[in-house]
C-alpha cells in the first residue's frame, strides 16, 4: 500500500494546513460522472414506477419484486470493481447514488447502503482474491444480500466489548462461532454476513482475546434470525437479531488478518459513514423541495409563507447547512478516491454534521408546513421519523465527537508532552489509531496560511486561518492544563470536536466555491459566494464560542447537577412544597 498522508483535520490540530489535500475541490472523472448520471436517471425512472415510500413505511416492508427489480438493474453492485462484475463506482459516485436513492425512499437507500457500504465492504477492502472471486459476483447481482454484524446486546458504542466467540480447531480447520448480534440492518433478507467475533490468540506468550472478522453465510448450520424489529423510522428496511449457535466457519473465511478484526470494522465504518451522510442529505433535500412548494402556495395574512422573514430565515439556514455539509462530504469522498489519505475523522465529521443538520432542518420543514406537517397524509412526519436513526447508528454522534477530539488532541499530545500514549486506549475503544501528522509534516514547510482565494472569499479565508490557529493554541493549553486527564473532560472534547467540524466545513465550502469561481467565473457564482460567506461567518462564531467555553464554562456545576439528579432517579423539584 502507498504511504498514507495524514488527515487534514489532524494536521490542523497541530496548526498545519495541508492545503493540497483540500484545494482544488475534487471532481469526478468525466467518464464516471456520466456513468453516475445515467445510473441516477435509471434509478429515478425505476423509482417513479416502483418505489412507494408511504407503502413501504406503512407495511414495514420493501416488496420482494421491488428488491428483485433493483437487483436485476444492478443496484447491488455499485461500488464493487468491474473485475468482479460490479460497476466500480468510487466513493464520490457511490455516495451521490445513495443520495439520489434517498430522495425517493430512506428504507431503500438503507437496504442498498447496508449491503454495499458495510455488508460486503470488508470483503471488498480486506478480502483475499479467492474470497472475492467466490462471493462478489453473487453479491453484485443480489443473489446473496450482505449485512454487517458488529453490534451486540452488550456492545454498542463500545464495539470492542463484543462477546461473540470464535473457537479455533486446528485439527478440523474450522472455527466454532457462538453469539448474538443485534439490530442488523438487512438481517431478514441477508444471506452473507460479515461477523466480528473474539478469538484467543497467543501474543508474546500470553493468551489474549482479539477480534477477527469472518464471512458467515446462511447456508451454514446454526445461523438463524430473529423477528423483524418494529422501528420508529426507515420501517421498510429489515432489522433483526442474528444468532450463531455452534456455527462451523472454515479458516478460509477469515477476512483480513486474525486478531485485526477491529481495524477491519472501523475501516468499513469510516467509509460507510460517508454513504450514510450523503443519503441523509438526499432525503433532506427532497423534503425541503416539498416544503418550498408549500410555503410558496400557502397564504396567511394575504401573503405567501415564503414572503415572511421568519420563514426566509429557515429557508436560508437550511440552504446554507446543506451546502456546507455537501461540501464536506464530497471533499472527503474525493480524498477517499485519491486513495492515499487518512480520512477517518473527516468521515466522522461528515456523518455528524449531515445527520445533525438534517435532523434540525427536517424538523424545520415540518414546522413550516404547520399542522399539515403533523398529519400522516403528508411526508413530513415520516421524514422526521426516518431521519432520527441517523444520529445514532454507525457510531453515535456523541462517540464520534470523542473520537474526533481525542484523535486531534493525541496528535498534539504526542508531540508536546508524550502524553499521547495515554490517549490511545480510549480512542482504541471506538476508533482507529492512525499515523501522526506531526511526524509527517515536521520536515515540510509548515504554514498556517492557505493560498489566495478569490477576493470575494478573502474574509472567510482569513477567519479560517485565524480560528485554525486558535484551535491549535487551545489544544496546547488544554493539554498543558489537563494532561492525560483530558480523556475525562468530555464536555470540553465535545466543544473541540464541534470547533474542528466547523473549521473543516469552512475550508470545504471555501474550496468548493473558489474552485467553482475558477471554473465558471465569479459573476455566475454570486449566490454560492453569499452562501459560503454566510456559512463561514456562522461557523467562526461557533468556533469562537466553543473555544472560549473550553476555559469559561459551567461544567463543574453541570456535572454536579447531573450526578445529583441521577442519584435521585427523577426530577425532584416542585414549584409548591407539599407536606
Amino acid at each position: 500500500m502507498a504511504p498514507v498522508k495524514p488527515s487534514f483535520s489532524k494536521a490542523l490540530f497541530s496548526g498545519v494546513i495541508m492545503e493540497d489535500l483540500v484545494f482544488p475541490y475534487p471532481k469526478m472523472e468525466k467518464e464516471e460522472a456520466e456513468n453516475v448520471k445515467m445510473m441516477i436517471d435509471t434509478f429515478n425512472k425505476f423509482a417513479e414506477d416502483n418505489i412507494d415510500a408511504v407503502k413501504f413505511d406503512e407495511e414495514a416492508k420493501i416488496p420482494e419484486d421491488v428488491i428483485n427489480g433493483l437487483k436485476e438493474l444492478g443496484f447491488f453492485g455499485l461500488n464493487t470493481p468491474d473485475k468482479y462484475d460490479g460497476f466500480g463506482l468510487g466513493s464520490t459516485g457511490f455516495t451521490k447514488m445513495l443520495s439520489a436513492v434517498s430522495e425517493h425512499d430512506g428504507s431503500t437507500s438503507l437496504m442498498l447502503g447496508a449491503h454495499q457500504s458495510i455488508g460486503i465492504k470488508a470483503l471488498n477492502l480486506f478480502g483475499s482474491e479467492e474470497q472475492k472471486k467466490k462471493y462478489l459476483p453473487r453479491l453484485v447481482t443480489g443473489e446473496l444480500v450482505g449485512a454487517f454484524c458488529l453490534t451486540e446486546p452488550g456492545a454498542g458504542s463500545d464495539a470492542a466489548g463484543i462477546k461473540t466467540k470464535a473457537v479455533r480447531d486446528e485439527k478440523s480447520g474450522y472455527y466454532v462461532l457462538n453469539g448474538t448480534k443485534l439490530w442488523i440492518t438487512n438481517g431478514g433478507i441477508a444471506d452473507f454476513f460479515t461477523v466480528f467475533a473474539k478469538e484467543d490468540l497467543e501474543i508474546k506468550g500470553e493468551i489474549q482475546e482479539k477480534i477477527t472478522a469472518f464471512i458467515v453465510t446462511t447456508d451454514m448450520p446454526g445461523v438463524s434470525k430473529g423477528k423483524e424489529e418494529k422501528k420508529m423510522g426507515i420501517r421498510g428496511s429489515s432489522t433483526t437479531e442474528v444468532y450463531f449457535e455452534d456455527v462451523k466457519v472454515p479458516f478460509e473465511n477469515i477476512v483480513g488478518e486474525r486478531g485485526k478484526g477491529f481495524k477491519v470494522a472501523m475501516e468499513v465504518l469510516n467509509s460507510g459513514r460517508l454513504g450514510l451522510a450523503g443519503g441523509t442529505i438526499g432525503a433532506f433535500k427532497e423534503i425541503f423541495k416539498t416544503t418550498l412548494d408549500h410555503i410558496n402556495q400557502r397564504k396567511q395574512f394575504k401573503k405567501t409563507l415564503a414572503e415572511f422573514e421568519v420563514i426566509k430565515q429557515k429557508v436560508a439556514q437550511i440552504t446554507i447547512d446543506i451546502y456546507a455539509a455537501e461540501s464536506m462530504i464530497y471533499l472527503t469522498t474525493g480524498l477517499v478516491d485519491r486513495g492515499d489519505v487518512d480520512y477517518s475523522i473527516e468521515s466522522a465529521m461528515c456523518k455528524i454534521r449531515a445527520t445533525d443538520i438534517a435532523w434540525e432542518g427536517i424538523n424545520e420543514c415540518l414546522q413550516m408546513a404547520g399542522g399539515i406537517g403533523f398529519m400522516k397524509e403528508y411526508p413530513y412526519e415520516r421524514n422526521v421519523r426516518d431521519a432520527r436513526i441517523n444520529k445514532i447508528f454507525e457510531g453515535t454522534n456523541e462517540i464520534l465527537r470523542m473520537f474526533i477530539a481525542l484523535s486531534g488532541l493525541q496528535e498534539r499530545g504526542e508531540y508536546l508532552k508524550k502524553i499521547g500514549k495515554a490517549l490511545r486506549d480510549p480512542i482504541k475503544g471506538f476508533g482507529l489509531l492512525t499515523d501522526f501528522a506531526a511526524d509527517w509534516v515536521k520536515d515540510r514547510i509548515i504554514t498556517g496560511r492557505i493560498r489566495d482565494v478569490h477576493p470575494s472569499l478573502m474574509n472567510a479565508k482569513k477567519d479560517f486561518e485565524n480560528w485554525a490557529k486558535n484551535l491549535r493554541f487551545t489544544v496546547e493549553r488544554l493539554l498543558m492544563e489537563h494532561s492525560k486527564e483530558i480523556i475525562y473532560r468530555e464536555m470540553i472534547s465535545y466543544r473541540i470536536a464541534d470547533a474542528a467540524i466547523d473549521l473543516f466545513g469552512m475550508i470545504a465550502t471555501i474550496s468548493r466555491v473558489d474552485t467553482r469561481i475558477r471554473d465558471i467565473g465569479a459573476d455566475k457564482c454570486d449566490k454560492e459566494i453569499k452562501i459560503c460567506n454566510a456559512f463561514c461567518e456562522q461557523a467562526w462564531r461557533r468556533v469562537r464560542r466553543n473555544l472560549l467555553m473550553v476555559d469559561k464554562n459551567n461544567d463543574d456545576y453541570l456535572r454536579e447537577i447531573a450526578d445529583f439528579i441521577s442519584e435521585e432517579k427523577q426530577y425532584p423539584f416542585n414549584t409548591e412544597q407539599f407536606f
Partner: protein
C-alpha cells in the same frame, strides 16, 4: 430485422423554462436534457422486434445529444449515428432532410420515431420521413405486429382505434401504450459506453420556418371557491356563464 430509431433530446418535463434575452430560444444553462419520452416507446419496440437484427439510433443536434443517444444504447440498441449540428433546426422539414440522407445509407426494414417531441410538439417527423423516403408512415401507433414484409398497426384516433396494414419498409410513430419501455440496466449503461457513436456531418435542408419569438404563457389568475355544498351550484353556474363565459 434492421431497425432505425430517430430520437430527439429534449428538456426534462420538470424543467423551469427560461427564455433567452433575444426571445428566439430558451436558455439552456441549467436544463437537464432527456431522451424524448415518446421516442423511448420507439426504442423499446425496435428492441423487441429486432430479433437478431440491429437497432440503430439516429439523432441530430449539438454534442450534448450524445447523452440521449447513450440512454437509448443503454436500453440495448446496437449502433448509433450522431448527425452533428450546432442547433436543432426550427423547421422539422430541415431536420427530416438530414435524417433522410442518413437513413438512405442504411438498409432499414422499419424506422421508428416518437409521435411527437415534447419540446416543440411539431408532430411531423414520421410523416415527413415517410414522404421524403417515399414509403408509408403510420402515426400514433399503440399496437404493432410485423410479419412477412407487412406491418399491422393499431392507431389511436378520436374515440376509437384504427387498424391499418402496409408493407415494409415503413415509418412508425410510437404512442404511449405501445409498450412499457425497459429501464436501462447498469450493465447496459456500461456496455453503451463501449459503443462508438458514429459522427456525421450532414447539412440540414433549407430552413423554411423562422422562430420569431418565444413568450411565456399568461399568468394564471387565482381560482375562486364559491362554496362547498349544493347551495353553491346556482352561483357557480351564474359565474361560469357571466364571468368566465364558458357556458
Amino acid at each position: 430485422m434492421n431497425i432505425a430509431v430517430c430520437i430527439k433530446q429534449v428538456p426534462d418535463t420538470e424543467t423551469k423554462v427560461k427564455i433567452s434575452d433575444d426571445k428566439k430560444s430558451i436558455a439552456e444553462g441549467d436544463i437537464n436534457f432527456i431522451l424524448n419520452p415518446y421516442d423511448e416507446f420507439g426504442v423499446e419496440e425496435a428492441l423487441k422486434l429486432a430479433d437478431g437484427g440491429e437497432v440503430t439510433i439516429i439523432s441530430l443536434g449539438p454534442d450534448r445529444v450524445t447523452s440521449a443517444i447513450r440512454s437509448a444504447l443503454a436500453m440495448g440498441a446496437h449502433k448509433a449515428i450522431h448527425i452533428k449540428s450546432d442547433a436543432v433546426p426550427a423547421d422539422p422539414g430541415a431536420t427530416a432532410d438530414a435524417l433522410v440522407a442518413v437513413l438512405k445509407e442504411g438498409n432499414y426494414d422499419l424506422i421508428f420515431t416518437g409521435k411527437q417531441a415534447i419540446d416543440d410538439d411539431h408532430t411531423q417527423m414520421a410523416s415527413l420521413l415517410g414522404e421524403k423516403l417515399g414509403i408509408p408512415a403510420v402515426n400514433v401507433v399503440v399496437k404493432l405486429e410485423v410479419s412477412g414484409g407487412k406491418v399491422r398497426a393499431e392507431r389511436e384516433i378520436e374515440g376509437a382505434h384504427e387498424v391499418v396494414e402496409c408493407p415494409t419498409p415503413c415509418v412508425i410513430s410510437a404512442q404511449r401504450g405501445l409498450n412499457e419501455p425497459r429501464y436501462a440496466s447498469l450493465k447496459g449503461i456500461m456496455a453503451a459506453k463501449k459503443i462508438q457513436i458514429e459522427a456525421k456531418d450532414v447539412n440540414p435542408g433549407p430552413n423554411q420556418l423562422q422562430i420569431v419569438e418565444y413568450n411565456y404563457p399568461p399568468q394564471k389568475s387565482a381560482g375562486k371557491i364559491v362554496g362547498d355544498s349544493a347551495d353553491a351550484v346556482p352561483e357557480l353556474i351564474r359565474l361560469l356563464n357571466e364571468e368566465a363565459k364558458v357556458i
